[in-house]
């Protein structure tokens, strides 16, 4: 057999003969490439490799040599015997590879659209893979944009609702007042009439009686006189005289008595002070809703500034679209204005938006239709669509083209029934059958190698929660392009990026049922659990796969419960599981990207976290409703339900606000159990409950209270049952479930998306149209825009200011607006703040209202004190403050800002602790507080697990040296906006910036005391607009650099006075841009405005609470807690922003929770505190309340070992980065 084999082997290529050609010397060789290669073209002969015989080449070339038929038969025979597959290249002809120009069997490469050989193709695929992973990384990094936007959307939702609730409250209030006034007046008038009637009547009766008496007297007198005043009777003279007198008197009386009334004409008349018609008219139109229309979208200049960043995306997108269109890919009936939504394949029916919105809130439909029509959010895209036609059509790079082609060509990953993200058109890779197949293959370990480029992006999936594609413009242009390209690719079809989309898609589908009808049913069917188990399990496995090893434990730990459920109730349980994957992804974005897919735990954490600081308003409410709903519809039995509901609920993309969560759970489950699975019945209690409480609020508490409850109801609703939210909202929420019960849970896997997407929709509408109605939403938009600016690294300050100025003309003139404060509030107030202020403004206008006086006063003060700087700051940071805590806080922050002060004055109004700020002063604050605490607890679960797993070094950066990427005693460290690592390379007197993978990006600074020079800098911080703030230790000053590392300003000198430093060390900045400096040798913390203006200080030398000894590092949590590593007191103290001590933890020692000269301190966005316990050479992690969570690390220079810790920071993915000083490196955990 061996020999047989060798007989069939061409001695040149050592391969099986392919098309053997027989030379005259009887030796055979493959025609290509062997014989081909033997040709001596000069002499037109071929030399036999075996016998060296030379043969003339036939006229037709080597092809002309006869084929060795015998050999070929043998080959066939052999193939038969051995059962080999026929040579795949049998029928093919060799060609020159277009890349390496080797002769080979070429195939079309989707990457470059050339015929290339296998090797080149493999290389190209590798390139694609790498590109994908690179883009994936970018997406990962960019995803927090989406998260931000998501949170903005959520906040906008809340604000919208709050605003509307407030307005509705006002309307109700006015109505009540009008009614009362009307009634009072009516009653009064009626009383008057009655009283008058009675008096007059009495008088008349009296008169009548008297007259009658007189009459009878006179009558009798007359009679008597007639009868007896004659001679028959003897009268004495006196008697006669008297009688005569009497009669004379009577005559007199009769003559004189004159009752001057024939008829009774003393009439009472009802006179209107105003023309009744007029009055009715007035009342009938006693108010209207004024929706402020920020001109943001129409102002071309503004826009171009605000959107510079993302425009490229749009351009690319539109360009892509155009190309698509050119290919006749889409319908041509696209209206002029109908640039499609980004990434959408076909223009959705226009009515879609109207429908969804009006369905959701009937009340709006009225004016919605007036205000809305063209001003949809797409207008932006339309713009780019139209404008950019000319300019950059040919800007597509090779890669873009390639990718496109790939997409066009194969659309391998395209699936009809994958649900697509409503915004980007990206669908989940995991929905794509091909991808599924691949994954399946991989799972079964069969074809590991043969993956196509598509699968690699899989890990990305959590990330691309492309809810608002444009904003992804976060990084450099090229990256944007990358992203957009990817997006496009996805959208286009070829790939399958898009996990989270699915859910939303379902909703979307329902709306767009016309365009997307086909997919929907399929999807629905499958997800309906019509035993599409393969899909389900696939997704599940995939998800599992996706989880990084670190997180795996959690995932598996949690999973069982889900799968238990699922085993019990296959169909029903499927929903949660898919859900989880769905929300995994979506949250992936939301959770500011952990490097890998999130475990459910993370998700949960994420959401609870999300919910925590922003007492997310009505969303919560709806979330609650929704949460119940799915369960009930699923018709699962109680036990499973419970699990499910909580499971589902906790990871819904909509912000389940943590505070209320427990309550929700309870109420949900209980109501479930009672009502047993009908949606309506579920819905009812809620709405019933509300009117009641509303009534109660109205009647019992009095108008003011009612109002305030109104405002807060969103937050506390579930707990307090005082949920007056305006009827509008009720009806809206009520209508949601009704609107589509059948399909909604039919696509059960995607129900969450529905609410994922809903807010989004709302946001879109609100940010564009409705925005304009609500001053707050509008400022939100400003914020958004601003952020874009910031990210664009443009001089956003100008824009910010400019925007603010430009907006002046289209100030919202609210019906009740009278005072400038209201005006300003409307402009700059945000979130609840805005509505609160608007409330106060209205109360101000309607003087009779009992409104909180201070509020109005403050507002006015604001207006007065609002310097341009403050305005600038506000427009710049105010929005950001909003971002953080969209509650009353933001209003107060903005107020504060307007005063140019941090939190001081405003804080008197509300508690300084933002966590409970909302609650403070509210009648129901205790509940709120507990809710907040509960939220904390809930939030605790996941980062906790994440942190519990932390100990393994991910990587470390640097070694001793002064080259880029090396350190000499690195001290401070901070995380920049793009998750960059900013390291204060202290003894190299420079700042180094690394990307999140530890790749050196840039450095700036050198030794010296001039501008931009350092002397052993220590602390470093990056504010939200990317400016670097450096504690220049031995120069006793703070320096600020722009995001490019150019010197902006410096402030401070050595000394002990305000604004002077003695070896400033740690530094940080809060969301409002205030700078906190650990003034180490002055044993205090100083606070500055971002321009360096001294604002305040706290701490003095000592070891008592609130005192500091060598404070080293400082951090500010998202809840405005200021954490200071009080190094020589071996503790961490927690202050509020005013410098009041809230708590302190740790004492000297090396047990858990004890410190030895703690240095770096950092806090993540969920409040977990990470402390670089320098003396113990370990990192300790604490719960937000300061209780110990875990510690890791020891002395040494190996991985995960430290020698003298310095600054520490937490990246947005949860990675802990720490400066390992004596090892001259940065370690990442």
């Amino acid at each position: 057999m061996e020999q047989f084999e060798s007989l069939l082997t061409c001695c040149v290529c050592l391969d099986r003969y392919r098309n053997p050609k027989l030379l005259p010397c009887q030796h055979s060789f493959c025609m290509e490439p062997c014989m081909d290669g033997l040709v001596d073209y000069v002499r037109r002969q071929v030399k036999c490799p075996e016998c060296r015989a030379e043969h003339r080449i036939p006229y037709q070339g080597v092809q002309g040599f006869p084929t060795n038929v015998t050999l070929q038969r043998f080959l066939e025979l052999h193939a038969q015997i051995a059962g080999e597959l026929p040579d795949p290249t049998a029928g093919q002809v060799m060609e020159r590879c277009n890349v390496c120009s080797e002769k080979a069997y070429c195939a079309l490469c989707a990457h470059c659209d050339k015929k290339v050989c296998e090797d080149c193709k493999a290389a190209h695929m590798e390139v694609l893979r790498r590109e994908i992973s690179r883009i994936n990384n970018q997406i990962r990094r960019g995803v927090n944009r989406l998260q931000d936007i998501l949170s903005i959307v959520e906040r906008n939702t809340t604000n919208l609702q709050t605003n509307c609730a407030a307005v509705a409250g006002e309307v109700d209030e006015i109505h009540k007042r009008l009614a009362k006034a009307l009634k009072d007046r009516t009653d009064f008038l009626r009383n008057e009439v009655d009283r008058y009637l009675a008096t007059e009547l009495r008088n008349l009766t009296n008169l009548k009686d008297n007259l009658e008496l007189e009459l009878s007297n006179i009558q009798s007198n007359c009679d008597l006189a007639d009868k007896y005043m004659n001679d028959d009777v003897e009268w004495e003279d006196t008697e006669l005289v008297d009688t005569k007198e009497i009669f004379l008197k009577t005559v007199e009386f009769l003559r004189n008595f004159d009752y001057e009334a024939g008829d009774y004409n003393r009439r009472m008349r009802f006179i209107m002070t105003h023309d009744p018609n007029q009055l009715v008219l007035h009342v009938a139109s006693y108010g209207e809703l004024n929706i402020s229309h920020p001109n943001v979208y129409s102002g071309g200049l503004q826009q171009s500034q605000g959107l510079t960043r993302s425009k490229s995306d749009h351009r690319l997108a539109s360009q892509f679209r155009q190309q698509e269109e050119a290919k006749g890919y889409t319908e041509n009936d696209e209206p002029i204005l109908g640039g499609r939504k980004f990434g959408e394949r076909r223009p959705p029916p226009q009515e879609k938006h109207t429908r969804d919105y009006s369905a959701a809130a009937d009340d709006y439909s009225g004016y919605e239709s007036e205000h809305r029509p063209s001003r949809r959010f797409r207008s932006r895209f339309v713009r780019s669509h139209q404008q950019d036609n000319d300019s950059d059509t040919e800007q597509n790079t090779r890669a873009v083209k390639a990718e496109q082609q790939q997409k066009e060509k194969e659309k391998v990953a395209d699936t009809e029934d994958a649900t697509r993200g409503p915004l980007s058109g990206i669908f989940r890779l995991s929905d794509c059958p091909r991808v599924m197949q691949r994954i399946l293959d991989v799972d079964s370990g069969k074809k590991k190698e043969k993956k196509e480029p598509a699968p690699p992006p899989k890990p990305v999936q959590p990330a691309p929660q492309t809810r608002r594609p444009p904003p992804s413009a976060q990084r450099q242009q090229s990256e944007d392009d990358e992203i957009s390209r990817l997006k496009r690719q996805n959208k286009g079809a070829a790939s399958s990026q898009e996990p989270d989309r699915t859910p939303q898609r379902a909703t979307d589908e329902e709306r767009n049922s016309i365009t997307r009808k086909p997919p929907t049913p399929a999807r629905e069917a499958s997800s309906d659990g019509e035993s599409d188990e393969s899909v389900g399990s696939l997704q599940r496995t995939q998800q599992r796969k996706n989880t990084t090893p670190v997180q795996k434990p959690t995932a598996t730990a949690r999973r069982p419960s889900a799968s238990e459920t699922s085993s019990a109730h296959r169909p029903a349980a499927r929903a949660p599981s898919t859900e989880s994957s769905a929300s995994t992804e979506s949250s992936g974005s939301a959770v500011k990207h952990t490097g890998a897919i999130l475990t459910i735990a993370e998700l949960k954490a994420k959401y609870s976290k999300d919910g925590l600081p922003p007492k997310s308003g009505t969303t919560l409410f709806s979330a609650g409703n929704e949460r119940t709903a799915p369960v009930t519809t699923n018709g699962t039995a109680g036990g499973a339900q419970r699990v499910q509901s909580r499971f589902v609920g906790s990871q819904r993309p909509t912000p389940v606000s943590a505070p209320a969560e427990p309550a929700h759970d309870d109420s949900d489950t209980s109501s479930e159990e009672e009502t047993d699975s009908s949606e309506e019945s579920d819905e009812e209690p809620a709405s019933q409950r509300k009117p009641e409480s509303q009534a109660m609020a109205r009647s019992d508490i009095g108008p003011l209270l009612a109002r305030s409850t109104n405002a807060r109801n969103d937050t506390h609703e579930s707990k307090t049952k005082e949920s007056p939210a305006s009827t509008r909202y009720r009806s809206r929420q009520a209508s949601q479930p009704e609107e589509e019960p059948p399909s909604r849970y039919g696509a059960s896997s995607s129900y969450s998306s529905r609410y994922g997407s809903k807010p989004k929709e709302e946001e879109l509408t609100s940010s564009i149209d409705d925005d304009s109605k609500y001053p707050t939403a509008r400022s939100r938009y400003l914020a958004l825009k601003e952020r874009r600016n910031r990210l664009a690294r443009s001089k956003s300050s100008h824009t910010g200011f400019g925007v603010g100025d430009d907006d002046d003309p289209d100030e919202p003139v609210s019906p009740t607006t009278a005072s400038p404060s209201a005006y300003l509030a409307a402009r700059y107030g945000s979130g609840t703040g805005g509505s609160e202020l608007s409330r106060s403004r209205s109360s101000h206008a309607l003087k009779s209202r009992e409104s909180s006086p201070e509020r109005t006063v403050t507002g006015e003060k604001d207006g007065a004190a609002l310097s341009s700087w403050a305005r600038y700051l506000k427009s710049k940071y105010g929005s950001r403050g909003k971002d953080r805590d969209p509650g009353g806080t933001s209003s107060s922050t903005s107020r504060r800002l307007s005063l140019g002060l941090p939190l001081r004055s405003a804080n008197e109004l509300a508690s300084s602790d933002d966590d409970s700020k909302n609650a403070a002063g509210s009648p129901i604050s205790p509940t709120a507080a507990t809710a907040a605490v509960a939220g904390f607890a809930a939030a605790g679960s996941s980062p906790r697990s994440q942190y519990l797993q932390k100990r393994r070094l991910q990587f470390s950066v640097g070694s001793r040296g002064s080259e880029p990427g090396c350190f000499t005693w690195p001290r401070g460290i901070a995380v920049g906006p793009d998750n960059t690592m900013v390291v204060a390379d202290s003894s190299n007197h420079r700042v180094q910036v690394f990307d999140s993978n530890g790749i050196f990006m840039k450095e700036f600074g050198q030794y010296g005391s001039g501008e931009g020079e350092f002397d052993c800098l220590a602390g470093v911080a990056v504010n939200r607009i990317g400016q670097y703030i450096i504690a220049d230790r031995y120069n006793h000053r703070i320096q600020v650099f722009d995001p490019q590392g150019r010197f902006l300003r410096a402030f401070g000198t050595q000394g002990t006075g305000d604004g002077k430093f003695n070896y400033p060390w740690g530094i940080t900045t809060d969301a409002l841009g205030f700078i906190y400096v650990c003034d180490k040798e002055n044993h205090r913390v100083q606070v500055f405005q971002s321009d360096g203006t001294f604002v305040g200080k706290f701490g003095s030398f000592g070891s008592k609470l609130g005192q500091l000894e060598h404070p080293h590092y400082i951090a500010v949590s998202s809840t405005n807690r200021v954490l200071v590593s009080d190094s020589n007191n071996h503790r961490v103290q927690v202050f509020d922003v005013n410098g009041r001590v809230l708590s302190s933890f740790g004492e000297e020692g090396s047990e858990d929770g004890q410190f030895k000269f703690p240095r770096g301190v950092a806090v993540d966005d969920q409040g977990y505190i990470v402390v670089a316990d320098s003396g113990n050479n370990r990192i300790q992690i604490f719960h937000p309340d300061g209780t110990f969570l875990r510690a890791f690390g020891s002395w040494g220079s190996g991985d995960g070992e430290f020698k003298g810790l310095e600054g520490i920071a937490v990246m947005s993915g949860g990675n802990i980065i720490v400066c390992d000083r004596e090892n001259h490196r940065v370690q990442v955990f």
């Binding site: 001695c11 040149v12 290529c13 050592l14 490799p49 060296r52 390496c100 050989c117 080149c120």
Partner: protein, 151 residues
């Protein structure tokens, strides 16, 4: 650099799996076309007992052109010069694509047992070989002992 042709891969595999007795050829870790070769001196030749290092490089158009082979170990041989270059027809004009690495190395081994002083490369050696074969062989043995055995 373009990917390795299948033929080279096959040859390399075969060399590894079925090594030729007395010959070892190992591809370089950094360049699959470069082989470290060790050839044992054939029995009954003045080179017996020696281990001769060679380097072998497969040019770009291999197998259409011959591999480049060179002795690294110094050897006293009329057809191998001081630089280790080999005068062997199959490495030159008589190359055939049907030849392989192993056959080339076998040929080289054979060349060691049968020096051909009539087609010399190292003229002085060839001269001595022709004039005084005994001394030449002694020299060869001496060189072998000195250069090819001491490791």
């Amino acid at each position: 650099m373009a990917a390795l042709p299948r033929r080279i891969i096959k040859e390399t595999q075969r060399l590894m799996q079925e090594p030729v007795p007395g010959i070892s050829a190992v591809p370089s870790e950094t360049n699959a076309r470069y082989f470290h070769v060790i050839v044992t001196g054939p029995e009954d030749s003045p080179f017996e007992g020696g281990l001769f290092k060679l380097e072998l490089f497969l040019p770009e158009d291999y197998p259409m052109s011959a591999p480049k082979v060179r002795f690294i170990t110094k050897i006293y041989h009329p057809n191998i010069d001081r630089l280790g270059r080999i005068c062997l027809d199959i490495l030159k004009d008589k190359w055939s694509p049907a030849l392989q690495i192993r056959t080339v190395l076998l040929s080289i081994q054979a060349l060691l047992s049968a020096p051909n002083p009539d087609d010399p490369l190292a003229n002085d050696v060839a001269e001595l070989w022709k004039v005084n074969e005994i001394e030449a062989i002694r020299n060869a043995k001496e060189w072998t002992r000195r250069y090819a055995m001491d490791n």
